[in-house]
């Protein structure tokens, strides 16, 4: 683990330089252990690091660093919370998944095989981040990995089910985005008028269930 300042009010805690299940467990552990502490304003978990943002009028770097060690230590023997599994109904392809053909071409698979492999896998929410309630999903079969669009779309419809590099994701709101859209769900990941939590949270398990058009 390395801890270094990212700014005059934050520390970046890194557990590994690559994506590993161990680093993910530490990210989950630290995010939970630091939540709600006085002077800690925000926690930004990612694949193998957590950014800890604090109020510089109440806390300073050395103090927060000591707190991170202390909280990790005391959380070290706590069993991880039981993972929830969330099933997401998806209509694949067509206007719901305008990039399905491109993903098939890139991966050398038939569109039906892309759908079958995408829906057969079990995913883990590595973290929720980037933009509002966006879940980064680990567990995409490597045969389906497809680079992002070279120029992002200005408008991705809400509920779009997407592939970005080696990750899967679902767009919780209409937004710009560069991931490949292969389907769409009617499940609402986040309601801007409601208070979180969003539907998908860090460490949840996710399965995609193909449904026919009209069942959305």
């Amino acid at each position: 683990m390395t801890i270094r300042p990212a700014s005059d009010r934050s520390l970046l805690v890194s557990f590994a330089t690559g994506i590993t299940p161990e680093a993910h467990r530490e990210v989950v552990r630290l995010t939970r252990a630091m939540h709600g502490l006085r002077g800690i304003l925000n926690l930004h978990p990612a694949f193998c690091s957590v950014l800890v943002d604090f109020d510089p009028r109440l806390r300073h770097h050395a103090e927060v660093e000591a707190l991170i060690h202390e909280r990790l230590e005391s959380a070290a023997h706590e069993p991880p919370a039981a993972a929830r599994t969330v099933e997401i109904p998806v209509v694949y392809g067509g206007e719901n998944g305008p990039d399905l053909e491109d993903v098939a071409r890139h991966t050398g698979l038939a569109p039906e095989q892309v759908i079958q492999m995408h829906a057969a896998a079990e995913y883990t929410v590595a973290f929720v981040g980037f933009s509002t309630c966006f879940p980064y999903l680990d567990g995409l079969p490597s045969a389906l990995a497809t680079p992002r669009l070279s120029a992002p779309r200005k408008r991705v419809p809400v509920g779009s089910v997407a592939i970005g590099g080696i990750h899967a994701g679902v767009y919780p709101l209409e937004s710009p985005g560069g991931w490949r859209l292969i389907g769409r769900t009617s499940l609402r990941l986040f309601d801007p008028a409601a208070t979180p939590p969003p539907l998908l949270r860090m460490d949840d398990r996710v399965r995609f269930i193909p449904v026919p058009e009209g069942r959305l």
């Binding site: 300042p5 990212a6 700014s7 005059d8 690559g18 694949f47 981040g129 980037f130 208070t195 860090m202």
Partner: protein, 277 residues
């Protein structure tokens, strides 16, 4: 509508939002006798006409939008009066704090509108009516001598500063028209990107990230919570307010200081603000 932001939700991808010039919002609230976090109006580049159905005490802070009223002090507005704010005559943002606060509902603990996602509502439109609250906590006071935004914007080294030479500090950058509350896009000397790619990691307010085209982006109040571009530097807390006053086509230069120096500057700034109490 802004306050100081919505904290504690970054692990759901929701950045704090809040006033772009939080110092001006805090000062406005203290001038009218509110708690510093009360909801107030943020105007960007151009204002609007605000009719007061009842008498009120307001403070205009930040940039001068030509309202014809004294700024940085509490001002009594008679019932029926219309305060007209026009296009800016100085920086990007003007704040109107009202004694008692503006009583809009809070979403996730904050009245701040996250303009890009709609969390917390939407920007005001002509015809909207806003209730004035009764949450004043002390008497109104003022004036306060405003800070001036001069010289380079100060930064501390970012997490990938070792991968960069000193290009960021070599020449002025121009604020692009594409800038918004998510980020200030700068145009100028291209900064060579370090070799290789990096994994997305958490990014704080004021992070300066360098995408492959070498044109830096300063992450602002509605910033993404994680990002995969390397970051040579991060703007210091005491200079966040100056970012909120930058307009498109303004020029900005950067100077690197230590974290201890940054915290000294922040303490001096807090002393200036609390001279009002």
């Amino acid at each position: 509508m802004q306050d100081l932001g919505r904290f504690g939700w970054a692990h759901f991808g929701i950045s704090a939002s809040g006033a772009a010039d939080a110092l001006a919002l805090r000062a406005g609230n203290l001038l009218v006798g509110n708690a510093e976090n009360a909801a107030a109006l943020e105007m960007t580049l151009i204002g609007g006409a605000f009719e007061f159905e009842a008498a009120a005490v307001i403070a205009l802070t930040g940039s001068d939008f030509g309202a014809g009223l004294p700024h940085w002090t509490a001002v009594e507005i008679p019932a029926g009066h219309v305060v007209r704010c026009g296009p800016t005559r100085s920086g990007a943002r003007c704040y109107m704090a009202v004694r008692g606060g503006i009583a809009v509902p809070k979403v996730m603990g904050s009245a701040s509108v996250h303009v890009m996602t709609g969390v917390g509502g939407r920007p005001l439109r002509a015809g909207d009516t806003l209730p004035i609250g009764d949450a004043a906590v002390r008497r109104a006071r003022g004036p306060l001598e405003p800070l001036t935004s001069a010289g380079p914007v100060r930064v501390t080294p970012g997490p990938q500063s070792d991968a960069f030479a000193s290009e960021l500090y070599a020449a002025p950058y121009t604020v692009s028209e594409e800038s918004n509350r998510m980020g200030l896009r700068l145009r100028g000397l291209a900064i060579p990107s370090p070799a290789g790619s990096m994994l997305s990691e958490g990014v704080p307010l004021g992070a300066i990230q360098v995408p492959p085209d070498g044109q830096p982006i300063v992450l602002f109040v509605e910033h993404q919570t994680t990002g995969g571009y390397p970051k040579p530097a991060n703007v210091i807390s005491a200079d966040f307010w100056r970012l909120g006053q930058l307009r498109p086509r303004d020029q900005v230069t950067f100077e690197c200081i230590t974290i201890d120096q940054a915290l000294d500057l922040l303490r001096a700034q807090e002393r200036w603000l609390y001279s009002l109490l």
